[in-house]
Symmetry: C2
């Protein structure tokens, strides 16, 4: 029975690991990828933040460009949080990403949805609309970082 259970467990692990291992040769690769995507997203989101906070003048075209990159990048990191990528590299990922995966998935889906709304808001050319949507998007960042990212 122990052998059967082990085999079944191994089969589940292989099934779960397949997409991640097909995409990334090593956990370090997945970690570097997701950190890179999040970093690029953060740079462009930060530029929107500077406009929203009045640190740089509002530039409707730049806002659109930055929001578009945020929305594109928002889709990418999550596939790189596959099984076995909780360690390796210099990751700040908390174990809860894997133990509370449905919650993590809901959080990333929420970010993707808010980033799409941010693109719509950026196209209005209205700074107040941008501010509202920026704030809603920032809330999704914070929510996930609080629960799933080590300081």
């Amino acid at each position: 029975m122990k052998t059967l259970a082990s085999l079944a467990g191994a089969a589940v692990l292989i099934a779960l690991s397949a997409p991640a291992s097909a995409q990334f040769a090593k956990p370090e690769d997945a970690i570097k990828y997701r950190q890179s995507a999040l970093s690029v997203m953060g740079t462009h989101f930060g530029r929107l933040g500077e406009m929203v906070k009045g640190k740089v003048p509002f530039d409707a075209k730049a806002a659109q460009d930055n929001a578009a990159v945020v929305a594109e990048m928002a889709k990418l990191p999550w596939a790189a949080f596959g099984p076995g990528t909780d360690k390796g590299g210099n990751t700040k990922a908390k174990p809860e990403i894997w133990t509370e995966h449905a919650k993590f998935k809901a959080g990333s889906d929420k970010l993707i949805a808010e980033a799409d709304k941010l693109v719509v808001a950026s196209k209005t050319g209205n700074l107040d609309a941008l501010k509202t949507s920026f704030s809603a998007t920032a809330d999704t960042c914070k929510s996930c970082h609080d629960g799933f990212k080590n300081k």
Copy 2:
């Protein structure tokens, strides 16, 4: 005369630096950003390469998705090679990026153009079209790496 020339030189430097310093607080930030964008691009370009080389089965939808990310990322890194970002962080950038900037710019423009063609090729659903465009895009990577990136 020396003072005037120095002042003129300083003015040129300030003018050239302005966009970069507005976008990145420190050279390290610019270096991290461009490396992150290039790394994400490389991951998705590598996945296309696996299909093109027959290491993974051709998947037309995956090819489109990967090509789209490559084309989006291809636009991003170059603004982060501003003056003063030749040192700091763990950069492999060669000085020629700044001393032969027109050539570097032509190379990055060529990548952007080839990546756009790669998107078109990926949408045909034809593996041979993808192979041809992948190869042309890969050539632009190699050309710039040979001239502008330390090993």
